[in-house]
Amino acid sequence: DQQVKQNSPSLSVQEGRISILNCDYTNSMFDYFLWYKKYPAEGPTFLISISSIKDKNEDGRFTVFLNKSAKHLSLHIVPSQPGDSAVYFCAASAQSGGTSYGKLTFGQGTILTVHP
């Protein structure tokens, strides 16, 4: 039961263009969403997050959009750079009480390749 899904295994983009990575979730209890970036032979590193009270959060070249009714979020990278080439993971958690509070559930990841 995959509660967080990234349906595109890979994405290829030209340098300078926009990269859009997508993520869908099924659990309506999720109210906090994160994106992580992972380079080979390293652990994932936190990139950007959004809580369910917002529909957009921006940090430099990175913007995350949340559509709660569609249970969908996306990460936009503008402009894309070759150094952005990595695996991007979407994650979600429920911040309300219970034993699952704070537990991060990840998607399968999307490999982004930015060509010079």
């Binding site: 992580y36 032979a41 390293e42 652990g43 590193t45 936190f46 699952s100 537990k103 559930t105």
Partner: protein, 114 residues
């Protein structure tokens, strides 16, 4: 420079042997996660601790895997006996309790069972 430290970074072992992976969470963090990265499943949650108490280990094969936190500075993930299908990269992550906080990952242990 606070970071999550995992040892060993690489481990090659024969089928049937016991494997122990260790994690030192960031000082002051009270949540610890163990994840396994596979091609098909992405990052699978194996175990989740808060204040050293196991909260969720539903993703862990109980017959051969065990996870513990002997103290606040050490988390362990043990596989006994190991099988070739256990070959993967295992990540530990830690976080602080509170709303809207992220988890910080270690560099992982690449396990190969032959």
């Amino acid at each position: 420079d606070a970071r999550v430290t995992q040892t060993p970074r690489h481990k090659v072992t024969e089928m049937g042997q016991e494997v122990t992976m260790r994690c030192q969470p960031i000082l002051g963090h009270n949540t610890v996660f163990w994840y396994r990265q596979t091609m098909m499943q992405g990052l699978e949650l194996l175990a989740y601790f808060r204040n050293r108490a196991p909260l969720d280990d539903s993703g862990m094969p109980k017959d051969r895997f065990s996870a513990e936190m002997p103290d606040a500075t050490l988390a362990t993930l043990k596989i006994q006996p190991s099988e070739p299908r256990d070959s993967a990269v295992y990540f530990c992550a830690s976080g602080s309790q509170g709303l809207y906080t992220e988890a910080f990952f270690g560099q992982g242990t690449r396990l190969t069972v032959v």
